[in-house]
Amino acid sequence: MMIPSRLPPVPATGARAWLRDNLFSSTANSIASVVTLVLVAWLGINLFSWMFFDATWQQIWNNLKLFAVYRYPVELLWRPLAIIGMVMFLLGVSSGITPSGETNITRGVFWSFSGLVFLLTVLALLSWESVRLGWVMVSLACLAGYTLGREKPIVAKALPWLWGASLPLGFVLLYGVPGDAGNILRVVETREWGGFMLTLIISVVGITVSFPLGIALALGRRSKLPAIKYFCIGFIEIIRGAPLISWLFIASLLVPLLFNVSPDRIGPLLRALVAVTLFSSAYMAENVRGGLQAVPRGQREAAQALGLSGWQTLKMIVLPQALKAVIPAIVGQSIGLFKDTSLVFIVGLFDFFNIANTVVANQPESLLVTGGIRLELSLFVAVIYFFFAYRMSIASRQLEKTLGVGER
């Protein structure tokens, strides 16, 4: 005798049922809900009234250029803007080529950054005369890139090359071409760089360079050749054994010594980049190693049994699976690196965070005594950091989800 299937009991729906089930299911839960609600409301009201009635945002508005690029010459601001335009253009193409409907991580990233670009363009049109044209061009680049990707998906083939070329091209644009002073491409020394631009440069270079370095170190650590293996172990353990701040100190003193050049020849930016990249690559190596260990031995054996070479096995079977397993860790590390760049004041650089200190230090005495505008500045800095860090975190979750298709 078969028992006929029945439908499950219908759950209660609606706001009341949800509240009862989730917030007021028991006495303890009800108390916790009410207390939390009161606390959040109290904090929210206080913050709100402070933000709109007590805080002075004038100094942030006045110093925005400092926050963005520090002492980069005003008449050359089109150069960093051109880089933003180039990156947004490529991002637009990358997100345009995938058919709509499919979840696409680049597209989410592209539209949130485009939103920021459009907002800044409006602000520029209203009040920033020197970069008005530049921001309009960046906005157009966003739209042009997306449209191009949409209409001519064939350009997808050139994308890896274009992305690869964008990094050196960006550097040349920012730094300029030596010789011929007065030229529009005249050199801007790295000590003039700073603000959010510098934070982005250090994070992007640090992450992109430390990624392949980290993979190489992780593989080296598993090598059968003792010389390579112990070098990698030594490197990773020594680098991880001391805080970033000490490596920044050491880099600023040791690099000129090692390469036997006077400290003036190697700018503080290069020293900071070397320290940050090496530091990050040691952590990256350990993340990647975790991923390598997560790939079952059978995967390598199956590839070998099919006649794939060691290199092919690594590239097509082991690494894709290993890296996928450690995406959360790698993104977490990238977010950490993005924020850790604030330590570069050690080598005399003014990144985004340290601009806030500069601004505070230059305020009139009266403001300093009353706690001044430090809170406003800190809040502003935190919100900007949060926007980028949170965006990375969202992208990482989407990436995990997309790559998880058909997982065992």
Binding site: P296, G298, Q299, E301, A302, A303, Q304, A305, L306, G307, L308, S309, Q312, M316, I317, P320, Q321, K324, L403, V405, G406, E407, R408
Partner: protein
């Protein structure tokens, strides 16, 4: 059993007159201090189906893995299709191209679709055109009975289907020998049949096969010879009938009584 029979080396040579494709000569292997394979002498003729049985830990999987050098041996000689396995990577790669292997745990690549799993090696190793490799892949997927699963990921298939994909993956390379390392041990009982069916078809078509398995039904139906191993050595060799009607060695009898 006397000391003399214990130390007596049993040879599992292929019948005379055939063309030997696998030759294992005085093979010895250690895992650290542990002597896992002891003086193994065996060979397989082209077109033969050899079934290796034995209790777990007897070294049968290690033996089959020595044939395509997934395990390195320390003493003796392993020759496949006239090429001796040495440290020379070129020889190893040549042999691996000609031997297909099917594993207990399938070992499909989870990040690639079924079709990509199958065409990867033909394209990268055999240097076939993509269209040619895909055509052959579809042919063998049809042969193992799952032509409609080509664009799925391994994780979306049942165990039996995954193992059949693994067989198709090995066959698409056009191997001269197929090695099966306990292909049905990780499967649910109700899907073992569909995998065995594919293997029986292969055997009947004349594929040279070396199979480590506990499936006596398979051995009885298509096996030419059965090799029984225990504690790293070959204990008894014979036709399937010999094993099922009158095995001679005590250890064989006790093993068979447990699994039959």
């Amino acid at each position: 059993m006397s000391e003399a029979t214990m130390s007596h080396i049993v040879r599992a040579d292929a019948p005379e007159g055939g063309e030997k494709i696998i030759e294992v000569d005085s093979l010895n292997k250690w895992f650290g201090e542990f002597h896992v394979l002891k003086d193994i002498n065996m060979s397989v003729n082209r077109g033969e189906v050899v079934v290796v049985i034995g209790p777990s830990g007897s070294g049968k999987s290690t033996l089959i893995r020595c044939v395509n050098r997934l395990e390195e041996h320390q003493e003796g000689k392993v020759t496949v299709d006239g090429i001796e396995l040495t440290d020379d990577m070129r020889n190893i790669d040549m042999i691996r191209r000609e031997t297909g292997m099917v594993f207990q745990s399938f070992n499909l690549f989870p990040h690639l679709t079924v079709l990509e799993n199958i065409t990867l090696a033909p394209i990268r190793v055999r240097k076939w055109k993509k269209s040619e490799a895909e055509e052959r892949a579809h042919y063998f997927l049809g042969k193992v009975g799952i032509p409609e699963q080509a664009n799925k990921y391994p994780g979306q298939l049942s165990g039996g289907q995954q193992q059949r994909v693994a067989i198709a993956r090995a066959l698409t390379m056009g191997p001269k020998v197929m090695l099966f390392d306990e292909p049905t041990s990780a499967l649910d009982p109700e899907v073992i049949g569909e995998v065995l069916e594919v293997m029986v078809t292969l055997a009947k078509e004349g594929m040279t096969m070396m199979v480590v398995t506990h499936e006596m039904g398979f051995a009885r139906e298509v096996g030419d010879r059965v090799i029984f191993m225990d504690s790293g050595q070959i204990v008894e060799v014979g036709s399937p009938e010999h094993f099922f009607s009158n095995p001679t060695e005590e250890r064989t009898k006790s093993f068979l009584s447990k699994i039959l």
